[in-house]
């Protein structure tokens, strides 16, 4: 909605710095998720450790952006589109930080599986790989939608989350089958449930980011709304 610059130039600089810091955090989290999924896929302990180590930088950025949010609220008393951007950023970084936590969970599960020396079959369940790829794609597109403030793109992400949820249930069914067929896989299967759940949560957080994008850009709260209502809202000029 906004086109012009603020009369106070410094305000523009502060908002731009905040926005670019969120994207930097998003890039880090995206990479962390990718690394954790690769570590799971290839049972690579080094990659798993990298994903775990990346979490500290993500956490530091969250605190950093949070401080910026407080600073801008105190200094500028934002309104309208600026206010929505700032409250939206505060929520987006919370979701991104939690995506980082989920990536760390995946990486830790990789380590547990390695310790049990029982990953040879379980990490090749196609639905885990597919849902991992889908969640990573959702996250990437949610960050793109944030960068462009594109509510239509955000709506497609909300729709895609339903697919991730379905895949999670399919993975659960497969893992239960493994456990019933061969009780020796129970412990490792439970670790894989953690991985599948973390992937499903990453999808949820990407969806949340997409909802925040719709609120920031359109001033309409897309949370807890039906997909039809969301699609109708973003179709409005």
């Amino acid at each position: 909605m906004q086109t012009g610059e603020h009369l106070v130039r410094k305000y523009d600089e502060e908002l731009e710095t905040m926005r670019s810091r969120v994207l930097q955090m998003g890039g880090l989290v995206e990479s962390q998720v990718h690394t954790a999924l690769m570590a799971f896929e290839s049972a690579d302990m080094e990659l798993a450790q990298q994903a775990i180590d990346a979490d500290k930088r993500v956490n530091d950025l969250e605190v950093d952006v949070d401080q910026m949010v407080n600073y801008v609220i105190v200094r500028r008393q934002p309104t309208a589109g600026d206010l929505r951007m700032i409250t939206g950023v505060a929520k987006v970084i919370t979701d991104l930080e939690r995506v980082g936590d989920e990536a760390s969970k995946i990486a830790r599960a990789v380590k547990w599986l390695h310790e049990k020396n029982d990953q040879s079959r379980l990490n090749r369940i196609p639905d885990i790989r597919n849902s991992g790829e889908a969640a990573a794609s959702m996250l990437r597109r949610a960050l793109d939608a944030f960068a462009r403030m594109d509510p239509q793109a955000a709506a497609t992400i909300i729709k895609d989350d339903l697919g991730i949820d379905d895949r999670f249930r399919a993975v659960l069914r497969q893992l239960i089958t493994f456990m019933m067929e061969d009780p020796r896989t129970i412990s490792a299967s439970l670790d894989c449930v953690w991985v599948a759940k973390a992937i499903e949560r990453i999808g949820d957080h990407a969806k949340n980011v997409a909802e925040h994008v719709i609120f920031i850009s359109q001033g309409w709260d897309a949370r807890h709304q039906s997909l039809e209502d969301v699609e109708r809202a973003v179709a409005r000029p």
Partner: protein, 272 residues
Amino acid sequence: MVSTPAPEVASAEPKGGPLPPIKTEARDLSFYYGSFQALKNLNMPIYQHRVTALIGPSGCGKSTFLRCFNRMHDLYPNNRYEGEIRLLPDDVNLLAKSVDPIEVRMRIGMVFQKPNPFPKTIYENVAYGLRVRGLSSKAMLDDKIEQALRAAALWDEAKDRLQDLAFNLSGGQQQRLCIARALATDPELLLFDEPTSALDPIATASIEELMAGLKEKVTILVVTHNMQQAARVSDYTAYMYLGELMEFGETDQIFIKPKRKETEDYITGRFG
């Protein structure tokens, strides 16, 4: 100013429940200082027992609009109104020649930017309007003055010094005295023209707190340059620009999601 589309006045639906009743309403209101048109065909409701804030850049006509309500412009020659301001429930046009401006000012009080107590005692300041109305009974005057000072949150500070000169009060107290003076005649509408711009933050907070309580009794229309103040005190906000009403709606809506880009640019500080 390029020609602008119709103002977003229809956006005033409250989030829940029906709209409050209208206390007063501008209908096709224009105002001229000589040949200069300061207000251009304004249509806007003022809802009963609500605070409505008028915001906009200097020279946009918000004070001019405010002063139409109590016929302040009648005090200067060559000023001209067109259109109507209806006061409900009796549906009288406040701008009609047949309506006595003094009577209008009894029903519609005004508080100015700088406290302007009369050079009299605290008691006599509040008693003034009542005496003009013909009230002379000491007991009744005492009673009304206490009520007005209590309503203006000044009674506790002033009750033991009612015979002191009003100028001995602090700026914030003087402003509350002016509010008490306006309240003494039981107005239906109170007009505030930048009521806190000459006050410190503490006195400002006390006036804002007072406005929140006063709206239970009267309808309030306030002009303010301070947008945070408009956001804090008002239920409805109108954004004016170059004599036109650009947008009117619930304050939350105006400050979170204004409908017009012009409003957004102004309240976010992009106005150039």
